[in-house]
């Protein structure tokens, strides 16, 4: 699918074309589901659990139902539909038992928001509070309370996942490559440590919102702030046992997703309210507080890594244990586990690898997809570990990385051979090292240290990620020509701010040879109108939908040429075209305008040929396979995007306060379609990564109440938190099956920001952190070797933010067991 050639000859590819929907967004006219209301629409509110785990003894809805203006009240008892992406484990409203703080137990639809709120307050729920299991490591212990005692009865996707009934293990993914014991035996160094991160919230600026109308004959219409309209339709129909053609999902502009809107969330509840209210449309918008616990978050992770290294600094073996905290429901967390399991070592060659990756149920808000899909979390461990190893064996961390990074000829964890066109992590690492003058302080920096009394440190971290998607991930594009020669492009890929619509417009214009203003890619999605697309996730949109569009363009041109050849009495091979017409190459005056061909060509005598020009392109990921359940071997990766960050940080050696002075990032994007937008993804993701690194994370008390479900105590970066300098570098090693050579880059910018910062902080003041975020207090504690604070319930009893490394020289009998 590659159209690789010199950039200069492209009209639109590689150019900073302006965002196609910018003007509606800049003028306030862009319509989001939050902004919509329908005639007769009711407003929903949810009654939420104040407990992490409790038996629902009784729910009294009588006072709520009696309130004037209340049109529907629902509890779990009357809803026998279960949901789940990969493991069908979630009721629409809690039945029998609540499994996390903030879980929905009842819901109301009323004439106004005020009445709905009042009605929810009037619902009385009697609970028997049970001991929750809050820490995922505790949940693995013998005798831990079971979050899902009925796990063995749930439906799940057997090809990819392995739940363990009778435990809290929602999934165990394994990977075995080579002989890890042999690798350790041959190693001079064995270095082992554990790394942690807490749950984190996505924080899209538009909270989750849906309007649903359960119409006559079970025709359901859903307007939702969803990333993946076809997934909403699919899972909705599965839960309610409806044919797919009865349910229509419409998605207008979406105010940010970041993975949090990838699955199905509030839509089924709103649908049930609409049905109960006699088919009136019902709207539910999560409050910011609800966004933190009614809606899902990113899973916490405890990651233990044991690495064997040769005397020369080559990694010979690595054993990895991942414990992912799913929270109360499996949702995407099991797939995060699977996807992280097969990339768990970062962009390095590990000849002998052994991974057990667990997804563990706990009584906490549940985890879902989040930009990076596990890679932000485990790269924290991997890239802190790389620095640890380098220090332990007396090698420079940059040199150690370059020595072990994947390169052509390397074999990945799952057995894939890296080629010249897989992407170039070595250049990414070298470029960021150069951009921050890695390994030394400049005269200016030394002067700054003297002036401020603070210490400057530099750190680097590399990253990789492939789309986490089924082997049969597919999409399609339909390009319809209008009678004036303009075209409408229908694709299922969502615009959630990432700029795909503009990039697709550029690709279509380039491939058709049309002007940009002739192309309109539909922005709002409609499952009744647009062709199937799996999901808008995984940084795969531009490759798959881009390829489908290239094929659709070719189909459209071919059909146009056929009619034109007939009309012009020429061979199709002798024809060429521009934006306005098709003509005979050697006699340009013999031409037909696209407008005259668009809906069929009519001869002067009225006879007609052809018909409306419609180009269709289908594309499915090629060559991917399911992974062997015992060894994890197979081919899961559509493409690998490599990258690296280099960070300069300035740290107060007394207080632990710090400032990020510079971030340099490099990504091998294959081919830049739109520089302005690539930079937007690179910088936006990097700042989101800094948020994760510096300050974000859920804080619970010992009963499992979420203590910081708002911007007051869950801070996210502001303008003031930008580094003083940001540099974004792209490497262009073409992806041979990507349109124009592209590969995805939407998530990658967020990955490995935290460890690069951790490495910089350690270089500056020696603070050796194994837990993120790195709050100032954490840095202070680490500098002074104080007992860390555990606000995150990653371990019990208190104390988690430190893991002392084990470093030892060759011990042939070193056991594999943890």
């Amino acid at each position: 699918m590659q159209e690789n050639s010199d950039s200069a000859r492209f009209a639109y590819v590689g150019k900073s074309v302006l965002r196609v929907e910018a003007i509606e967004k800049l003028t306030g006219l862009a319509m989001y589901v939050s902004d919509m209301s329908l005639p007769g629409m009711l407003y929903a509110q949810v009654k939420k659990s104040p407990h992490a785990r409790a038996r629902i003894k009784h729910i009294d809805i009588s006072r709520a139902a009696a309130l004037v203006g209340v049109r529907a009240v629902l509890t779990g008892a009357e809803l026998n539909y279960r949901l789940g992406l990969y493991i069908v484990d979630k009721d629409i409203l809690a039945k029998g038992e609540v499994r996390h703080y903030g879980e929905a137990v009842a819901a109301v639809a009323a004439d106004t928001l005020e009445i709905a709120r009042k009605a929810v307050d009037l619902i009385d729920v009697e609970y028997e509070v049970l001991d929750p299991v809050l820490n995922h490591m505790d949940a693995l212990k013998e005798g831990a309370p079971l979050v899902h005692p009925d796990l063995g009865t749930y439906d799940y996707v057997e090809a990819a996942f392995t739940p363990v009934p009778g435990t809290n293990i929602a999934n165990l993914s394994k990977l075995r490559k080579g002989d890890v014991q042999k690798g350790f035996d041959e190693s001079t160094w064995i270095i082992e440590r554990e790394y942690d991160n807490p749950s984190v919230q996505h924080v899209p600026m538009e909270t989750h919102v849906a309007i649903v109308q359960w119409g006559k004959n079970d025709n359901v219409t859903i307007w939702s702030s969803a990333q993946s309209p076809f997934t909403v339709r699919n899972l909705f129909c599965y839960a309610f046992k409806l044919p797919l053609n009865k349910v229509r999902v419409l998605v207008p502009h979406v105010g940010g997703g970041f993975g949090g809107k990838a699955g199905i969330h509030i839509e089924p509840l709103v649908a049930c309210l609409s049905k109960k209210a006699g088919g009136r449309p019902v709207k539910l918008q999560a409050s910011r507080e609800e966004e933190f616990s009614l809606l899902p978050c990113r899973s916490a992770l405890t990651y233990k890594i044991k690495t064997g290294v040769s005397a020369e600094g080559k990694i010979l073996a690595q054993q990895m244990w991942m414990y992912w905290d799913a929270g109360a429901y499996a949702d995407y967390a099991v797939n995060v586990t699977r996807a992280s399991g097969y990339s768990a070592a970062g962009p390095y060659e590990i000849p002998n690898a052994w991974i057990d990756a667990y997804t563990v149920y706990t009584n906490k808000p549940y985890g879902t997809a989040y930009r990076g899909f596990g890679h932000v979390e485990f790269h924290w461990g991997v890239e802190r570990h790389m620095d640890l190893i380098a220090r332990a064996i007396g090698m420079d961390p940059l040199e150690f990385r370059l020595k072990n990074a994947l390169r052509p000829g390397s074999v990945s964890l799952t057995g894939e051979r890296i080629t010249d066109n897989t992407g170039d992590v070595l250049t990414c690492i070298s470029e960021v090292a150069k951009a921050i003058n890695y390994g030394k302080l400049t005269e200016e920096e030394k002067e700054r240290e003297r002036r401020t009394g603070r210490k400057i440190g530099k750190g680097i971290a590399a990253l990789h990620k492939a789309p986490a998607m089924p082997s049969n991930t597919a999409t399609a594009a339909v390009i319809k020509m209008n009678s004036d020669g303009t075209v409408n492009v229908n694709v299922g890929l969502m615009e959630i701010g990432q700029g795909s619509t503009t990039a697709i417009t550029q690709i279509v214009a380039e491939r058709l040879g049309f002007r940009l203003d002739q192309i309109k890619v539909t922005l709002e999605k409609d499952t009744d109108r647009d062709p199937y697309d799996w999901q808008t996730v995984a940084s795969k949109g531009l490759i798959l939908t881009g390829n489908a569009c290239v094929l659709a363009c070719e189909d459209l041109l071919k059909k146009g040429y056929e009619v034109a050849a007939q009309a012009l009495c020429a061979h199709p091979e002798d024809l060429t075209h521009d934006a306005d017409r098709i003509y005979v190459i050697h006699r340009p005056s013999e031409m037909i305008s696209w407008a005259r061909l668009s809906i069929g060509y009519t001869y002067p005598d009225g006879k007609s040929i052809g018909g409306p020009l419609i180009g269709v392109g289908q594309y499915i990921a090629h060559g991917l396979s399911n992974l062997d359940k015992e060894t994890g071997q197979g081919n899961p990766a559509l493409d690998w995007t490599y990258g690296a960050h280099g960070i300069i940080a300035e740290v107060d050696g007394v207080t632990g306060e710090y400032k990020v002075l510079k971030v340099a990032s490099a990504f091998d994007v294959g081919k830049v379609i739109n520089p302005g937008m690539v930079r937007g993804q690179a910088v936006g993701g990097m700042i989101q990564g800094l948020g994760t690194a510096i300050c974000e994370g859920y804080v619970f008390d010992k009963q499992g109440h979420l203590l910081n479900p708002s911007f007051t105590d869950n801070k996210i970066p502001t303008t003031m938190d930008l580094p003083e300098e940001i540099e974004t570098i792209v490497v262009e090693t073409p992806q041979l099956d990507g349109p124009y050579g592209v590969r995805g880059v939407g998530e990658h910018s967020m990955i490995s920001v935290a460890p690069a910062l951790g490495n910089a902080i350690q270089a500056a003041v020696g603070a050796d952190l194994t837990h993120m975020p790195m709050r100032f207090e954490d840095v202070w504690r680490a500098m002074r070797n104080k007992e860390p604070v555990d606000n995150w319930i990653t371990k019990t009893p208190a104390g988690s933010c430190r893991s002392d490394p084990t470093t030892r020289r060759h011990e042939p009998d070193a056991a594999i067991a943890p």
Binding site: T655, V699, D713, K715, P717, T718, D721, F776, W780, N791
Partner: protein
């Protein structure tokens, strides 16, 4: 979506005090609303009546005179203070603290007196006002009284304000004019955040004063300390007046350490 209440906007001080003399039990004063409306939304405050005082003409404006000192009235916002040339020239510590309060839009609405009356332990304006020995003028239909700000706070979000009283003015005395001071606030990010701790140190009238927020049930301040006080002694006096706790923002231990450190650093800065 807010709890239901009635709204009145008296046009004069007398009208306001009259209203409070009969209706105070369920009334809340609305000035900038940046705390009140958050609290109503959270359901922590459920007033029957909200009294908007911004339509009262004499409640606006910052004035300064030798006799009266700097007078801050109930509708004076943080941004009013940040723009005021008199404050800039003579009471710069107020601007330094004000500048660290929330975001620009909030500063457009939030009032100095509101920030004080809420008596939050993490008030940003209190450390400066305490250092500058400010006085609070309370008014009710029963008359007015003046209380030193130091005695105004009595507990977490508790003050000496009677239910029918309002704070009509905060007065920064003329003696504090030209005071040199510095404020340091520990935050979780560089952007707007509540103070995890705040320390102000000022040289006022030949004495050093140290005020601390977020480290005790109320913002606290030392007596005027001698200019040449030993650093360790100043730190000890400060540490004796605070009683920090651990919460989601920070531990007691780090709060204590940071107060200690900020006091040392700020003392060095203000003493030159």
């Amino acid at each position: 979506m807010l709890h239901q209440f009635s709204y009145v906007a008296p046009k004069s001080r007398e009208e306001l005090l009259d209203l409070l003399s009969t209706d105070y039990a369920h009334a809340k004063i609305l000035a900038g609303g940046t705390d009140l409306l958050v609290n109503i939304r959270n359901g922590t405050v459920k007033p029957g009546m909200v009294i908007d005082i911004k339509k009262i003409k004499e409640f606006s404006g910052i004035t300064y005179s030798k006799g009266e000192g700097l007078v801050l009235r109930p509708a004076v916002t943080i941004n009013d203070v940040l723009r005021d040339p008199t404050v800039r020239d003579y009471f710069p510590l107020l601007q330094e603290c004000g500048h660290d309060l929330a975001s620009y839009q909030i500063r457009n609405r939030a009032t100095v007196i509101g920030n004080v009356v809420n008596a939050s332990p993490c008030s940003d304006m209190a450390p400066a006002l305490l250092c500058l020995d400010s006085q609070v003028v309370l008014a009710s239909s029963r008359g007015t009284r003046t209380v030193p700000l130091k005695e105004f706070f009595i507990g977490v979000k508790k003050t000496v304000l009677a239910p029918d009283e309002i704070v009509e003015r905060i007065i920064v005395p003329t003696q504090a004019k030209g005071a040199i001071g510095k404020y340091r606030k520990l935050k979780r990010i560089n952007g707007h955040d509540l103070g995890i701790i705040g320390v102000a140190v000022a040289v006022v009238n030949g004495h050093v004063r140290i005020a601390v927020s977020s480290a005790a049930p109320t913002p606290v301040v030392t007596e005027g300390l001698p200019m040449d006080i030993q650093v360790d002694e100043a730190v000890e006096i400060t540490m004796n007046m605070i009683s920090p706790i651990s919460d989601v923002r920070c531990t007691k231990e780090y709060r204590e350490f940071m107060v200690n450190t900020f006091v040392r650093r700020l003392l060095a800065e203000v003493r030159g």
